[in-house]
Amino acid sequence: MDPASALQALNSGIPIAWYLTLAAVLFTIGVAGFLLRRNIITVFMCIELMLNAVNLTFVAFAHQHRDVSGHLYAFFVMVVAAAEAAVGLAIILTVFKNRSTLNIDEIDTLKN
C-alpha cells in the first residue's frame, strides 16, 4: 500500500465527528477541572487542556476543508499558550511566595 492511498484510507476512515467529540470531551474535562479544582496549578493545567481541545477542532476542520488557515490558528494558540504558561507560572510562584498557599479560594483580594 503506497503512502498516498494509506492517507486516503485514513481520511475516509475516521469521520470528523470523532475528532469533534474527542475535543468536546477534552474541553469539558478542562472546564470541569477549572471550576471544581482548588489547586492553582491544576486549574492552570485545565486551561491548557481547554486550549488544546480547541486546537484539535481547528486542525480537524482544517484537514477536512483542505485549508491551511486552521493550522495557522493552531500555531497562534500554541504561541499564546506558551507565553501564558510562562507568565502564569511566574505569577503562581509569586503568589505562593507571598501567601504560602495555592488554594484558589483564598486568593480573593479583588473583593472589596
Binding site: 477549572f34 471550576l35 484558589i104 479560594d105 486568593i107 480573593d108 483580594t109 479583588l110 473583593k111 472589596n112
Partner: protein, 614 residues
C-alpha cells in the same frame, strides 16, 4: 467741517485713557484728560453750531451699516438739527462746568481716575443719544447713560446704601426700557425702519391707534429715565452718588433724555392726542406729587432731588400740551439752575465737612458767601422770579397749559408756589441763623466756585440770552397767543413770590412756626415726610412678592425640587442598580469562571435553538 463723530469720540478717548491708564497717572494728567476732552467736545459743538447752515433740513452723517436684515437696515447714523444743537450745547456746556467743579470736589476721594473715566463715558453715551439718527442708536446711548448712572450712583461701593441705590436705579429703569423696546418693535413692524426721517415722514399716514400705542410705550420708557410717576422712585435714592454726578446726570442731562425723546418724536405724539393728554396728566401729577414731598425733606440733596422730579414733570406737562419748544426751553434753564443748585449743595456739604442734614447747617452766609450768592441766583430762577431764566420757560409752559386746559394751569401755579417755598426753605435753613454743625465751615476752592459763578450768570440771564422757542420755531411752531397772558404771568409770579415770602417768614422771622405747623398737621405731615410711603408700598406689592415668589417657587420649587431632584435622582438610581450588580463581583476566580461558562452556554443555546448566525 462737520465731523460729528468727533463730538462723542473725544470724551470716549478720555474714558479710554483714564479708564485703562488712570491708576498710574497723576491727578494733573487725569484732570487734563477728563476736563480737556469734554471742553474740546464743547468747542467742537460750538464750531459746528456756528458753521452750519441752519435751514429747515437737518444734517445727516452715515458712518457704517450696523444691522442689515432683509429690507431692514440700521446704521450708525448721526443727525444734527436745531433741537440736537440745543441739547448738545447743554450737555457739553454744563458737562464741562461740572467736570471742572468735580476736580475740586473729588480732590480727596479714592478712585479719582475711576470717577472721571465714568464721567467721560457718560458724556460719550449722552452725546450718542442726542446725536443719534435712529431709534436704535438713541437706545444705545439711552442704555449707556443708564449704565454710567448705575456705576456712578454706586461710586462709593463700600457703602451698602449706595450699591442698593444703584441697583434700584438700574432695575426701575429696566421697566421703562422694556416699554421703550416694545415701542421700537411696534415701529419696526409698522414702519419697517427705525430711521427718524423715514418714520416721521410716514407717521401722519398711520392709524391713530398704532401711533397712540407707540407713543404710550415711549412714555413708559421716558417715565423710567426721566423719573415720572410711577417710576420716579429711583431718582431720590440716586443722590447716594457724588454730588457732581447728581448735578450732571440726575439733574441736568440724563434725566431729561425722556423729554428729549418725546420732543424728537413730536410727529408721533402730535398725531396721538390721547397719548399727549396722558403725558400732560402724568407730568402734572408728578410735578405736584414730588413738590409736596419736597416740602418736608431735611436732606439738602433730597430736597433738590424731589425738586428735579417736580421740574421734570413740568417739562412733560409742556410736551403733553403740545408746547415742545417750551419743554425744551425749560429743560435748558432747568439744566442751568438745577445744576447750580446741586453744585451749590455740594459746596455747602463740602463746607460742612460732609453734613447733608439741613438741621445741622445754618449761618453759612458768613463762611461761604460765593456759594450763598450763586445759590440765591439759582433759587430765584427756580422760583420763577421775573427776568430770571426759570421765569421765562416756566411761564411758557404754564401759558401753553392754560391754552390746553385751564385747570392744568392752576395746578401748575400751585406747584410753582410750593417749589418756591421749599427751595427757599432750604436756602434759609442753610445760610441764615447760626451755624449748628460741627467743625469750622469754609468756602470752597476756585475750581468749585468758578463753575458756580458761570452757572449763576446763566441761571439769571439764560432765559433772555437763549430764546429756545424762537430758535426752534422751524421745527415746533410758536404757540398761539393766549388772551390774558399778562394776567397769567402775574399770577405765576405772585405764586413764586408768595412761596418765597412764606418760607422767609417761617424759617427766618418766626422760627418757632414750622414746629407748630408740623404738629398741627400731624398725620398729614408724617405722610409727606415719609414720601407718602411709596417705597414701602412698592416693597409690599412688588418687591416682596417677587423676592418671596422667587425664593419659594423658583428657588425651592423649581431649582431645588425639580432640577436638583432629577439630577440627584439619576445619581441615586445609578447607585441602587450598581449596588445590586456589585454582588456579582465576589472576587472569587471560580465564580467569575462560572459566569463566563454560563454566558457561553447561553450564547450557544441561542445560536443552536435560535437559528444560529446563518
Amino acid at each position: 467741517m462737520h465731523k460729528l463723530w468727533l463730538i462723542p469720540a473725544l470724551p470716549f478717548i478720555g474714558f479710554l485713557i483714564n479708564g485703562i491708564l488712570g491708576r498710574k497717572l497723576s491727578k494733573t494728567v487725569i484732570n487734563a484728560v477728563a476736563v480737556g476732552s469734554v471742553v474740546l467736545s464743547f468747542l467742537w459743538v460750538l464750531q459746528n453750531a456756528a458753521s452750519c447752515d441752519w435751514g429747515a433740513n437737518p444734517l445727516h452723517a452715515h458712518y457704517f451699516t450696523w444691522i442689515r436684515s432683509g429690507g431692514f437696515n440700521v446704521g450708525w447714523d448721526f443727525q444734527i438739527d436745531r433741537l440736537t444743537v440745543v441739547m448738545l450745547l447743554i450737555v457739553t456746556g454744563i458737562g464741562s462746568l461740572i467736570h471742572i467743579y468735580a476736580t475740586g470736589y473729588m480732590a480727596h476721594e479714592e478712585g479719582y481716575y475711576r470717577f472721571f473715566a465714568y464721567m467721560n463715558l457718560f458724556m460719550f453715551f449722552m452725546l450718542t443719544l442726542v446725536l443719534a439718527g435712529n431709534y436704535l442708536l438713541l437706545f444705545v446711548g439711552w442704555e449707556g447713560v443708564g449704565l454710567c448712572s448705575y456705576l456712578l450712583i454706586g461710586f462709593y461701593f463700600v457703602k451698602k446704601s449706595a450699591t442698593t441705590a444703584g441697583n434700584k436705579a438700574f432695575i426701575v429703569n429696566r421697566i421703562g426700557d422694556f416699554g421703550f423696546s416694545l415701542a421700537m418693535f411696534l415701529i419696526v413692524v409698522n414702519f419697517g425702519t427705525l430711521d427718524f426721517r423715514r418714520v416721521f415722514a410716514a407717521a401722519p399716514g398711520k392709524p391713530v391707534e398704532t401711533l397712540t400705542a407707540i407713543a404710550l410705550l415711549m412714555l413708559v420708557g421716558a417715565a423710567g429715565k426721566s423719573a415720572q410717576i410711577p417710576l420716579y422712585v429711583w431718582l431720590p435714592d440716586a443722590m447716594e452718588g457724588p454730588t457732581p454726578v447728581s448735578a450732571l446726570i440726575h439733574a441736568a442731562t440724563m434725566v431729561t433724555a425722556g423729554v428729549y425723546m418725546c420732543s424728537r418724536s413730536a410727529v408721533i405724539f402730535t398725531h396721538a392726542p390721547a397719548a399727549m393728554e396722558t403725558v400732560a396728566v402724568i407730568g402734572l401729577a408728578t410735578a405736584v406729587f414730588a413738590a409736596t414731598i419736597g416740602l418736608a425733606q431735611y436732606d439738602i440733596k433730597k430736597v433738590f432731588a424731589y425738586s428735579t422730579v417736580s421740574q421734570l414733570g413740568y417739562m412733560f406737562l409742556g410736551v403733553g400740551v403740545g408746547a415742545f419748544s417750551a419743554g425744551i426751553w425749560h429743560l435748558m434753564t432747568h439744566a442751568f439752575f438745577k445744576a447750580l443748585l446741586f453744585l451749590g449743595a455740594g459746596s455747602v456739604i463740602h463746607a460742612c465737612h460732609g453734613e447733608q442734614d439741613m438741621r445741622h447747617m445754618g449761618g453759612l452766609r458768613k463762611y461761604a458767601p460765593i456759594t450763598m450768592w450763586t445759590l440765591a441766583c439759582a433759587s430765584l430762577a427756580i422760583a420763577g422770579f421775573p427776568g430770571t431764566s426759570g421765569f421765562f420757560s416756566k411761564d411758557a409752559i404754564l401759558t401753553a397749559a392754560y391754552g390746553y386746559a385751564p385747570w392744568m394751569f392752576w395746578v401748575g401755579v400751585i406747584t410753582a408756589g410750593m417749589t418756591a417755598f421749599y427751595v427757599w426753605r432750604a436756602f434759609w435753613m442753610t445760610f441764615m441763623g447760626e451755624y449748628k454743625g460741627h467743625g469750622h465751615p469754609h468756602e470752597s476752592p476756585l475750581s468749585m466756585t468758578g463753575p458756580l459763578m458761570v452757572l449763576a450768570v446763566l441761571s439769571l440771564f439764560g432765559g433772555v440770552l437763549f430764546n429756545v422757542p424762537k430758535f426752534l420755531s422751524g421745527m415746533f411752531p410758536l404757540p398761539e397767543e393766549v388772551p390774558g397772558e399778562a394776567m397769567l404771568m402775574g399770577i405765576s409770579i405772585a405764586a413764586g413770590l408768595i412761596g418765597i415770602g412764606i418760607s422767609y417768614y417761617m424759617y427766618v422771622v418766626n422760627t418757632e412756626l414750622p414746629g407748630k405747623v408740623t404738629s398741627a398737621l400731624g398725620g398729614l405731615y408724617t405722610l409727606v415726610y415719609n414720601k407718602y410711603f411709596v417705597d414701602e408700598i412698592y416693597d409690599a406689592t412688588v418687591v416682596t412678592p417677587l423676592v418671596e415668589g422667587s425664593k419659594t417657587v423658583l428657588w425651592h420649587g423649581a431649582d431645588q425640587g425639580l432640577i436638583d431632584g432629577i439630577v440627584n435622582g439619576v445619581g441615586t438610581e445609578s447607585r441602587a442598580i450598581g449596588g445590586v450588580l456589585r454582588l456579582i463581583q465576589s472576587g472569587n476566580i471560580r465564580s467569575y469562571a462560572t459566569w463566563v461558562v454560563l454566558g457561553s452556554v447561553a450564547v450557544l443555546l441561542v445560536m443552536v435553538f435560535g437559528g444560529g448566525m446563518r
